[in-house]
Amino acid sequence: MIDHASGALQIASAVKGGTVSAVEVARAALFRIGALDAHLGAFTAVTAERALGEAAAVDARVRAGGDPGPLAGVPFAVKNLFDIKGLPTLAGSRINAGHPPAGADADLIRRLNDAGAVLVGALNMGEYAYDFTGENSHYGPSRNPHDPARMSGGSSGGSGTAVAAGFVPLALGSDTNGSIRVPSSFCGLFGLKPTFGRLSRQGTFPFCFSLDHLGPLGRSAADLASAYDAMQEPQAAAPVSPVLGQGAEGLRIAVAGDYFARGADPAAFEAVAKVAEALGARETVVVPEAARARAAAYVITTAEGGNLHLDRLRTQAADFDPATRDRLLAGAMVPASWYLQAQRFRRWYHDRVMELFSRVDVILAPATPCTAPPIGQRTMVLDGVEMLVRPNIGIFTQPLSLIGLPVVAVPVRRPGGLPIGVQVVAAPGREDLALRVAADLEAKGVCKAPVARGETSWER
Protein backbone atom coordinates (compact mmCIF):
# COMPACT_ATOMS: atom_id res chain seq x y z
CA MET A 1 0.00 0.00 0.00
CA ILE A 2 1.26 3.45 -0.88
CA ASP A 3 0.66 6.24 1.63
CA HIS A 4 2.38 9.31 3.03
CA ALA A 5 4.95 7.16 4.80
CA SER A 6 6.04 5.34 1.64
CA GLY A 7 9.57 5.79 0.40
CA ALA A 8 10.52 7.18 -2.99
CA LEU A 9 11.47 3.81 -4.44
CA GLN A 10 8.29 2.16 -3.14
CA ILE A 11 6.24 4.85 -4.86
CA ALA A 12 8.21 4.56 -8.10
CA SER A 13 7.81 0.81 -8.11
CA ALA A 14 4.04 1.05 -7.53
CA VAL A 15 3.64 3.70 -10.23
CA LYS A 16 5.67 1.71 -12.74
CA GLY A 17 3.72 -1.42 -11.85
CA GLY A 18 0.39 0.33 -12.27
CA THR A 19 -0.67 -0.28 -8.65
CA VAL A 20 -1.18 3.42 -8.18
CA SER A 21 -1.11 6.33 -10.59
CA ALA A 22 1.34 9.20 -10.31
CA VAL A 23 -1.64 11.57 -10.30
CA GLU A 24 -3.13 9.80 -7.27
CA VAL A 25 0.21 10.04 -5.47
CA ALA A 26 0.55 13.73 -6.33
CA ARG A 27 -3.02 14.47 -5.24
CA ALA A 28 -2.46 12.72 -1.92
CA ALA A 29 0.74 14.69 -1.30
CA LEU A 30 -0.94 17.98 -2.21
CA PHE A 31 -3.88 17.17 0.05
CA ARG A 32 -1.64 16.39 3.02
CA ILE A 33 0.41 19.55 2.45
CA GLY A 34 -2.77 21.61 2.18
CA ALA A 35 -4.22 20.11 5.35
CA LEU A 36 -1.16 20.20 7.58
CA ASP A 37 1.52 22.57 6.41
CA ALA A 38 -0.06 25.63 7.97
CA HIS A 39 1.04 24.14 11.30
CA LEU A 40 4.56 23.30 10.23
CA GLY A 41 5.74 25.97 7.80
CA ALA A 42 7.61 23.74 5.36
CA PHE A 43 6.46 25.31 2.08
CA THR A 44 6.67 28.83 0.67
CA ALA A 45 4.99 27.82 -2.59
CA VAL A 46 3.04 24.73 -3.64
CA THR A 47 3.17 24.03 -7.37
CA ALA A 48 -0.06 22.01 -7.53
CA GLU A 49 -0.96 22.58 -11.16
CA ARG A 50 2.55 21.78 -12.33
CA ALA A 51 2.69 18.67 -10.13
CA LEU A 52 -0.53 17.29 -11.54
CA GLY A 53 0.69 17.96 -15.07
CA GLU A 54 4.00 16.22 -14.48
CA ALA A 55 2.25 13.30 -12.81
CA ALA A 56 -0.16 12.95 -15.73
CA ALA A 57 2.81 12.83 -18.10
CA VAL A 58 4.37 10.04 -16.04
CA ASP A 59 1.10 8.09 -16.13
CA ALA A 60 0.92 8.57 -19.89
CA ARG A 61 4.41 7.09 -20.26
CA VAL A 62 3.42 4.11 -18.11
CA ARG A 63 0.26 3.56 -20.15
CA ALA A 64 2.27 3.74 -23.37
CA GLY A 65 4.63 1.06 -22.12
CA GLY A 66 7.60 3.44 -21.99
CA ASP A 67 10.14 3.85 -19.21
CA PRO A 68 8.81 6.51 -16.80
CA GLY A 69 12.19 6.71 -15.02
CA PRO A 70 13.66 5.41 -11.77
CA LEU A 71 11.74 7.97 -9.68
CA ALA A 72 8.45 7.67 -11.53
CA GLY A 73 5.73 9.65 -9.80
CA VAL A 74 7.82 10.44 -6.72
CA PRO A 75 6.74 13.79 -5.24
CA PHE A 76 9.66 16.02 -4.31
CA ALA A 77 10.16 19.59 -3.20
CA VAL A 78 13.16 21.90 -3.22
CA LYS A 79 14.60 24.52 -0.89
CA ASN A 80 13.46 27.83 -2.25
CA LEU A 81 16.95 28.77 -3.43
CA PHE A 82 16.48 26.46 -6.45
CA ASP A 83 15.08 28.21 -9.52
CA ILE A 84 11.58 27.00 -10.32
CA LYS A 85 10.34 28.29 -13.65
CA GLY A 86 7.69 30.93 -13.09
CA LEU A 87 8.49 31.66 -9.43
CA PRO A 88 10.88 34.20 -7.91
CA THR A 89 13.75 32.42 -6.19
CA LEU A 90 13.34 33.69 -2.64
CA ALA A 91 16.37 32.13 -0.95
CA GLY A 92 14.45 32.75 2.25
CA SER A 93 14.56 36.50 1.80
CA ARG A 94 11.99 39.25 1.46
CA ILE A 95 14.33 41.10 -0.90
CA ASN A 96 14.29 38.39 -3.56
CA ALA A 97 10.49 38.31 -3.55
CA GLY A 98 10.75 41.36 -5.80
CA HIS A 99 12.94 39.56 -8.31
CA PRO A 100 11.47 38.45 -11.63
CA PRO A 101 10.32 34.83 -11.81
CA ALA A 102 12.93 32.29 -12.84
CA GLY A 103 12.93 31.64 -16.57
CA ALA A 104 13.90 27.98 -16.22
CA ASP A 105 14.27 25.27 -13.62
CA ALA A 106 17.56 24.58 -11.88
CA ASP A 107 19.63 21.75 -13.36
CA LEU A 108 18.89 19.37 -10.50
CA ILE A 109 15.12 19.87 -10.74
CA ARG A 110 15.33 19.12 -14.44
CA ARG A 111 17.30 15.95 -13.77
CA LEU A 112 14.83 14.72 -11.17
CA ASN A 113 11.96 15.51 -13.53
CA ASP A 114 13.76 13.54 -16.24
CA ALA A 115 13.91 10.62 -13.81
CA GLY A 116 10.13 10.81 -13.42
CA ALA A 117 9.92 12.71 -10.13
CA VAL A 118 7.14 15.27 -9.68
CA LEU A 119 7.84 18.72 -8.22
CA VAL A 120 5.25 19.81 -5.66
CA GLY A 121 6.75 23.04 -4.40
CA ALA A 122 9.39 25.29 -2.88
CA LEU A 123 10.52 24.94 0.72
CA ASN A 124 11.12 27.45 3.48
CA MET A 125 14.69 28.11 4.59
CA GLY A 126 16.89 30.37 6.66
CA GLU A 127 17.46 33.72 4.97
CA TYR A 128 20.11 33.45 2.26
CA ALA A 129 21.08 30.07 3.78
CA TYR A 130 23.02 31.78 6.59
CA ASP A 131 21.36 29.79 9.36
CA PHE A 132 21.39 26.56 11.37
CA THR A 133 17.99 26.90 13.06
CA GLY A 134 15.27 26.79 10.38
CA GLU A 135 13.89 30.07 11.71
CA ASN A 136 12.97 32.86 9.31
CA SER A 137 11.78 36.32 10.31
CA HIS A 138 9.88 36.83 7.03
CA TYR A 139 8.15 33.51 6.43
CA GLY A 140 8.06 32.00 9.93
CA PRO A 141 9.96 29.00 11.22
CA SER A 142 10.05 25.55 9.68
CA ARG A 143 8.83 23.49 12.61
CA ASN A 144 10.13 20.07 13.60
CA PRO A 145 7.40 17.47 12.95
CA HIS A 146 8.64 15.44 15.92
CA ASP A 147 7.81 18.41 18.16
CA PRO A 148 6.55 21.57 16.44
CA ALA A 149 7.77 23.73 19.29
CA ARG A 150 11.30 22.84 18.27
CA MET A 151 13.63 23.83 15.47
CA SER A 152 13.79 21.85 12.25
CA GLY A 153 17.42 22.87 11.86
CA GLY A 154 18.72 24.99 9.06
CA SER A 155 19.19 26.32 6.71
CA SER A 156 17.33 23.63 4.74
CA GLY A 157 14.67 23.69 7.45
CA GLY A 158 11.67 23.31 5.18
CA SER A 159 13.36 20.36 3.50
CA GLY A 160 13.72 18.60 6.85
CA THR A 161 10.17 19.45 7.89
CA ALA A 162 8.61 18.32 4.60
CA VAL A 163 10.27 14.90 4.56
CA ALA A 164 9.85 14.17 8.27
CA ALA A 165 6.16 15.16 8.09
CA GLY A 166 5.54 12.79 5.20
CA PHE A 167 4.66 15.56 2.75
CA VAL A 168 7.23 14.25 0.30
CA PRO A 169 9.65 11.32 0.47
CA LEU A 170 12.43 13.38 -1.06
CA ALA A 171 13.58 17.00 -0.83
CA LEU A 172 16.57 18.93 -2.02
CA GLY A 173 18.57 21.22 0.21
CA SER A 174 21.85 23.06 0.17
CA ASP A 175 24.73 22.58 2.58
CA THR A 176 27.44 25.20 2.97
CA ASN A 177 28.43 24.48 6.56
CA GLY A 178 25.92 21.79 7.53
CA SER A 179 22.56 22.91 6.18
CA ILE A 180 21.55 19.44 4.96
CA ARG A 181 23.13 17.51 7.82
CA VAL A 182 21.71 19.68 10.63
CA PRO A 183 18.03 19.38 9.61
CA SER A 184 18.61 15.69 8.90
CA SER A 185 19.86 15.28 12.46
CA PHE A 186 17.11 17.33 14.12
CA CYS A 187 14.29 15.86 12.00
CA GLY A 188 15.56 12.26 12.07
CA LEU A 189 16.34 11.82 8.36
CA PHE A 190 18.99 10.57 6.02
CA GLY A 191 20.76 13.43 4.26
CA LEU A 192 23.53 13.44 1.69
CA LYS A 193 26.03 16.22 1.26
CA PRO A 194 27.94 15.02 -1.79
CA THR A 195 31.54 15.84 -2.61
CA PHE A 196 32.03 19.55 -3.34
CA GLY A 197 31.51 20.17 -7.06
CA ARG A 198 29.88 16.80 -7.67
CA LEU A 199 26.35 18.06 -8.38
CA SER A 200 25.54 21.05 -10.54
CA ARG A 201 24.71 24.30 -8.75
CA GLN A 202 23.38 25.86 -11.94
CA GLY A 203 20.11 27.69 -11.33
CA THR A 204 20.45 28.04 -7.58
CA PHE A 205 20.89 31.18 -5.50
CA PRO A 206 24.42 31.17 -4.06
CA PHE A 207 25.63 31.83 -0.55
CA CYS A 208 29.34 30.99 -0.49
CA PHE A 209 30.85 29.87 -3.79
CA SER A 210 33.75 28.08 -2.08
CA LEU A 211 31.56 25.90 0.10
CA ASP A 212 28.05 25.55 -1.33
CA HIS A 213 26.87 21.99 -1.96
CA LEU A 214 23.45 20.68 -3.00
CA GLY A 215 21.98 17.34 -2.07
CA PRO A 216 18.94 15.27 -1.07
CA LEU A 217 17.18 14.51 2.21
CA GLY A 218 15.08 11.37 2.45
CA ARG A 219 13.85 8.59 4.68
CA SER A 220 16.19 5.83 3.47
CA ALA A 221 19.70 5.40 2.16
CA ALA A 222 18.35 3.80 -1.03
CA ASP A 223 16.15 6.83 -1.73
CA LEU A 224 19.14 9.15 -1.29
CA ALA A 225 21.22 6.99 -3.60
CA SER A 226 18.53 6.96 -6.29
CA ALA A 227 18.14 10.73 -6.15
CA TYR A 228 21.91 11.20 -6.21
CA ASP A 229 22.29 8.90 -9.21
CA ALA A 230 19.57 10.77 -11.05
CA MET A 231 21.23 14.12 -10.38
CA GLN A 232 24.82 13.23 -11.26
CA GLU A 233 26.39 14.59 -14.41
CA PRO A 234 25.75 12.13 -17.24
CA GLN A 235 29.45 11.34 -17.62
CA ALA A 236 30.19 11.24 -13.88
CA ALA A 237 31.17 8.28 -11.75
CA ALA A 238 29.28 4.99 -11.71
CA PRO A 239 25.86 5.01 -10.03
CA VAL A 240 25.88 4.24 -6.35
CA SER A 241 22.50 2.48 -6.05
CA PRO A 242 23.75 -0.90 -7.33
CA VAL A 243 26.45 -1.16 -4.62
CA LEU A 244 24.30 -0.32 -1.59
CA GLY A 245 23.64 -3.98 -0.84
CA GLN A 246 27.36 -4.68 -0.41
CA GLY A 247 27.07 -3.52 3.21
CA ALA A 248 29.86 -2.24 5.39
CA GLU A 249 31.72 -5.51 5.73
CA GLY A 250 35.41 -5.08 4.98
CA LEU A 251 35.40 -1.31 5.21
CA ARG A 252 37.91 0.33 7.53
CA ILE A 253 35.72 2.48 9.76
CA ALA A 254 36.98 4.71 12.56
CA VAL A 255 35.44 7.13 15.03
CA ALA A 256 36.64 10.74 15.04
CA GLY A 257 38.17 11.54 18.41
CA ASP A 258 39.58 14.69 20.01
CA TYR A 259 37.61 17.71 18.69
CA PHE A 260 34.70 15.47 17.66
CA ALA A 261 34.56 13.77 21.06
CA ARG A 262 33.91 16.82 23.24
CA GLY A 263 31.64 19.85 23.50
CA ALA A 264 28.29 18.15 23.03
CA ASP A 265 25.40 16.59 24.90
CA PRO A 266 25.79 12.92 25.83
CA ALA A 267 23.06 12.08 23.29
CA ALA A 268 25.39 13.04 20.43
CA PHE A 269 28.18 10.76 21.61
CA GLU A 270 25.81 7.94 22.53
CA ALA A 271 24.51 8.03 18.95
CA VAL A 272 28.03 7.77 17.54
CA ALA A 273 28.86 4.92 19.94
CA LYS A 274 25.73 3.05 18.92
CA VAL A 275 26.57 3.36 15.24
CA ALA A 276 30.22 2.45 15.81
CA GLU A 277 29.26 -0.64 17.77
CA ALA A 278 26.90 -1.81 15.04
CA LEU A 279 29.68 -1.42 12.50
CA GLY A 280 32.37 -2.97 14.69
CA ALA A 281 34.37 0.25 14.49
CA ARG A 282 36.83 0.30 17.35
CA GLU A 283 39.60 2.55 16.02
CA THR A 284 39.71 6.26 16.81
CA VAL A 285 41.34 8.79 14.51
CA VAL A 286 42.16 12.44 15.08
CA VAL A 287 41.13 14.84 12.35
CA PRO A 288 44.01 17.32 12.64
CA GLU A 289 43.27 20.97 13.42
CA ALA A 290 39.52 20.55 13.22
CA ALA A 291 38.88 23.62 15.38
CA ARG A 292 40.95 25.74 13.00
CA ALA A 293 39.12 24.15 10.10
CA ARG A 294 35.84 25.31 11.57
CA ALA A 295 37.29 28.79 11.99
CA ALA A 296 38.49 28.82 8.39
CA ALA A 297 35.03 27.75 7.20
CA TYR A 298 33.51 30.57 9.23
CA VAL A 299 35.85 33.20 7.79
CA ILE A 300 35.40 32.04 4.19
CA THR A 301 31.63 31.85 4.57
CA THR A 302 31.15 35.26 6.13
CA ALA A 303 33.58 36.98 3.76
CA GLU A 304 32.10 35.48 0.59
CA GLY A 305 28.53 35.97 1.83
CA GLY A 306 29.24 39.58 2.73
CA ASN A 307 30.79 40.22 -0.66
CA LEU A 308 27.89 38.57 -2.49
CA HIS A 309 25.33 40.76 -0.75
CA LEU A 310 27.36 43.96 -0.59
CA ASP A 311 25.17 45.95 -2.94
CA ARG A 312 21.98 44.84 -1.21
CA LEU A 313 23.56 45.74 2.14
CA ARG A 314 24.25 49.21 0.78
CA THR A 315 20.76 49.81 -0.54
CA GLN A 316 18.30 47.48 1.24
CA ALA A 317 19.84 46.72 4.63
CA ALA A 318 16.52 47.23 6.42
CA ASP A 319 14.91 44.45 4.40
CA PHE A 320 17.25 41.73 5.68
CA ASP A 321 16.56 39.55 8.68
CA PRO A 322 18.53 41.44 11.37
CA ALA A 323 20.45 38.30 12.36
CA THR A 324 21.59 37.77 8.78
CA ARG A 325 22.22 41.44 8.06
CA ASP A 326 24.64 42.08 10.91
CA ARG A 327 26.70 38.99 10.13
CA LEU A 328 26.86 39.79 6.42
CA LEU A 329 27.82 43.40 7.11
CA ALA A 330 30.68 42.21 9.33
CA GLY A 331 31.57 39.61 6.72
CA ALA A 332 31.91 42.26 4.05
CA MET A 333 34.54 43.90 6.23
CA VAL A 334 36.82 40.88 6.63
CA PRO A 335 40.37 41.84 5.58
CA ALA A 336 41.61 40.04 2.49
CA SER A 337 44.55 38.54 4.39
CA TRP A 338 42.23 36.71 6.82
CA TYR A 339 40.21 35.30 3.94
CA LEU A 340 43.24 34.30 1.89
CA GLN A 341 44.92 32.67 4.87
CA ALA A 342 41.73 30.67 5.46
CA GLN A 343 41.77 29.50 1.84
CA ARG A 344 45.43 28.51 2.12
CA PHE A 345 44.75 26.72 5.40
CA ARG A 346 41.96 24.88 3.62
CA ARG A 347 44.48 23.44 1.18
CA TRP A 348 46.87 22.45 4.00
CA TYR A 349 44.07 20.84 6.01
CA HIS A 350 42.78 18.98 2.95
CA ASP A 351 46.17 17.37 2.43
CA ARG A 352 46.40 16.24 6.08
CA VAL A 353 42.89 14.75 6.05
CA MET A 354 43.64 12.92 2.80
CA GLU A 355 46.50 11.21 4.66
CA LEU A 356 43.88 9.92 7.11
CA PHE A 357 41.88 8.45 4.26
CA SER A 358 44.87 6.37 3.22
CA ARG A 359 44.34 4.47 6.49
CA VAL A 360 40.55 4.42 6.80
CA ASP A 361 37.60 4.34 4.41
CA VAL A 362 34.97 5.96 6.60
CA ILE A 363 35.01 8.22 9.64
CA LEU A 364 32.10 8.59 12.07
CA ALA A 365 31.36 11.86 13.87
CA PRO A 366 28.38 13.49 15.59
CA ALA A 367 26.16 15.52 13.25
CA THR A 368 24.89 18.04 15.80
CA PRO A 369 25.94 18.65 19.39
CA CYS A 370 22.36 18.31 20.63
CA THR A 371 18.84 17.35 19.64
CA ALA A 372 16.55 20.06 18.27
CA PRO A 373 16.35 23.04 20.65
CA PRO A 374 13.07 24.91 21.16
CA ILE A 375 12.34 27.56 18.53
CA GLY A 376 13.61 30.92 19.69
CA GLN A 377 16.14 29.54 22.16
CA ARG A 378 19.22 31.77 22.08
CA THR A 379 21.71 29.99 24.32
CA MET A 380 22.40 26.40 25.32
CA VAL A 381 24.71 24.62 27.73
CA LEU A 382 27.02 22.04 26.18
CA ASP A 383 29.56 20.19 28.28
CA GLY A 384 28.85 22.64 31.11
CA VAL A 385 29.57 25.70 28.96
CA GLU A 386 26.85 28.20 28.03
CA MET A 387 27.05 29.22 24.39
CA LEU A 388 24.97 30.77 21.64
CA VAL A 389 22.72 28.28 19.84
CA ARG A 390 22.73 29.72 16.33
CA PRO A 391 26.45 29.69 15.53
CA ASN A 392 27.31 26.52 17.46
CA ILE A 393 24.88 23.98 16.03
CA GLY A 394 27.35 23.39 13.19
CA ILE A 395 30.46 22.73 15.23
CA PHE A 396 30.77 19.18 13.90
CA THR A 397 29.64 19.80 10.32
CA GLN A 398 31.76 22.84 9.40
CA PRO A 399 35.22 21.19 9.56
CA LEU A 400 34.07 18.54 7.06
CA SER A 401 32.43 20.73 4.43
CA LEU A 402 35.48 23.03 4.47
CA ILE A 403 37.21 20.44 2.31
CA GLY A 404 34.11 19.19 0.54
CA LEU A 405 34.02 15.63 1.86
CA PRO A 406 30.96 13.52 1.05
CA VAL A 407 28.91 12.92 4.18
CA VAL A 408 25.72 11.00 4.84
CA ALA A 409 23.87 12.06 7.97
CA VAL A 410 22.16 9.00 9.44
CA PRO A 411 19.31 9.23 11.98
CA VAL A 412 19.62 7.44 15.28
CA ARG A 413 16.36 6.88 17.11
CA ARG A 414 16.28 7.45 20.83
CA PRO A 415 13.40 5.73 22.62
CA GLY A 416 11.15 8.43 24.00
CA GLY A 417 13.51 11.16 22.81
CA LEU A 418 14.10 13.34 19.82
CA PRO A 419 16.20 11.97 16.96
CA ILE A 420 19.84 12.88 16.48
CA GLY A 421 22.20 12.24 13.59
CA VAL A 422 25.64 10.80 13.02
CA GLN A 423 27.90 11.83 10.15
CA VAL A 424 29.26 9.03 7.98
CA VAL A 425 32.21 10.66 6.24
CA ALA A 426 34.14 9.33 3.25
CA ALA A 427 36.98 10.48 1.00
CA PRO A 428 36.19 12.77 -1.93
CA GLY A 429 34.19 11.01 -4.62
CA ARG A 430 33.34 8.05 -2.36
CA GLU A 431 29.65 8.73 -1.81
CA ASP A 432 29.24 5.02 -2.51
CA LEU A 433 31.05 4.07 0.70
CA ALA A 434 29.14 6.49 2.92
CA LEU A 435 25.84 5.34 1.44
CA ARG A 436 26.79 1.68 1.80
CA VAL A 437 27.42 2.27 5.50
CA ALA A 438 24.13 4.16 5.84
CA ALA A 439 22.26 1.31 4.15
CA ASP A 440 24.00 -1.22 6.38
CA LEU A 441 22.97 0.68 9.51
CA GLU A 442 19.42 0.83 8.23
CA ALA A 443 19.41 -2.91 7.51
CA LYS A 444 20.66 -3.56 11.04
CA GLY A 445 17.84 -1.43 12.47
CA VAL A 446 20.22 1.04 14.10
CA CYS A 447 19.17 3.93 11.88
CA LYS A 448 15.63 4.58 10.81
CA ALA A 449 13.72 7.57 9.50
CA PRO A 450 9.99 7.04 9.91
CA VAL A 451 7.50 9.83 9.29
CA ALA A 452 7.08 11.78 12.51
CA ARG A 453 3.86 10.95 14.28
CA GLY A 454 1.87 14.04 15.06
CA GLU A 455 1.66 13.45 18.79
CA THR A 456 1.05 17.12 19.27
CA SER A 457 -1.59 19.19 17.59
CA TRP A 458 -0.33 19.47 14.04
CA GLU A 459 -1.85 16.28 12.67
CA ARG A 460 -5.14 16.23 14.51
Binding site: R201, F209, A330, V334, Q341, A342, R344, R347
Partner: protein
Protein backbone atom coordinates in the same frame (compact mmCIF):
# COMPACT_ATOMS: atom_id res chain seq x y z
CA UNK B 1 46.69 39.37 11.82
CA UNK B 2 43.90 40.11 14.29
CA UNK B 3 45.12 40.02 17.85
CA UNK B 4 43.81 40.77 21.30
CA UNK B 5 44.03 44.48 20.63
CA UNK B 6 41.82 44.34 17.54
CA UNK B 7 39.46 47.29 17.74
CA UNK B 8 36.23 46.15 16.14
CA UNK B 9 34.56 49.57 16.41
CA UNK B 10 37.25 51.44 14.53
CA UNK B 11 37.59 48.61 12.01
CA UNK B 12 33.85 48.76 11.27
CA UNK B 13 33.98 52.54 10.89
CA UNK B 14 37.00 52.39 8.59
CA UNK B 15 35.71 49.55 6.44
CA UNK B 16 32.23 51.05 6.19
CA UNK B 17 33.83 54.15 4.68
CA UNK B 18 36.08 52.10 2.40
CA UNK B 19 33.15 50.02 1.14
CA UNK B 20 30.64 52.83 0.84
CA UNK B 21 28.38 51.31 3.49
CA UNK B 22 26.27 53.68 5.53
CA UNK B 23 25.59 51.64 8.65
CA UNK B 24 22.39 52.59 10.43
CA UNK B 25 23.21 53.46 14.06
CA UNK B 26 20.66 50.85 15.14
CA UNK B 27 22.64 48.13 13.35
CA UNK B 28 26.09 49.25 14.41
CA UNK B 29 26.27 47.40 17.78
CA UNK B 30 25.31 44.13 16.10
CA UNK B 31 27.84 44.63 13.33
CA UNK B 32 30.59 45.52 15.78
CA UNK B 33 29.79 42.48 17.91
CA UNK B 34 29.93 40.24 14.84
CA UNK B 35 33.19 41.83 13.69
CA UNK B 36 34.77 41.26 17.09
CA UNK B 37 33.64 37.65 17.04
CA UNK B 38 34.91 37.16 13.49
CA UNK B 39 38.30 38.57 14.46
CA UNK B 40 38.51 36.20 17.39
CA UNK B 41 37.68 33.23 15.18
CA UNK B 42 39.98 34.37 12.37
CA UNK B 43 42.88 34.51 14.80
CA UNK B 44 42.79 30.72 15.03
CA UNK B 45 43.54 30.61 11.33
CA UNK B 46 45.88 33.57 10.94
CA UNK B 47 48.14 32.54 13.83
CA UNK B 48 48.72 29.13 12.21
CA UNK B 49 52.03 29.04 10.35
CA UNK B 50 51.76 27.81 6.78
CA UNK B 51 54.68 26.95 4.47
CA UNK B 52 55.10 29.44 1.61
CA UNK B 53 54.26 26.77 -0.94
CA UNK B 54 50.70 26.18 0.29
CA UNK B 55 48.37 27.46 -2.43
CA UNK B 56 44.84 28.81 -2.16
CA UNK B 57 42.27 26.02 -2.12
CA UNK B 58 39.81 27.11 -4.85
CA UNK B 59 40.86 26.25 -8.35
CA UNK B 60 40.12 28.48 -11.33
CA UNK B 61 39.62 26.38 -14.43
CA UNK B 62 39.96 28.27 -17.68
CA UNK B 63 37.33 27.27 -20.17
CA UNK B 64 34.94 25.95 -17.51
CA UNK B 65 31.70 27.77 -16.83
CA UNK B 66 30.24 28.42 -13.40
CA UNK B 67 28.18 25.51 -12.16
Amino acid sequence: MPDNTFDAESHVDHMAAALGLAIDPDYRPGVVANMARTAEIARLVTEFPLPDGVELAPAFRPGEESR
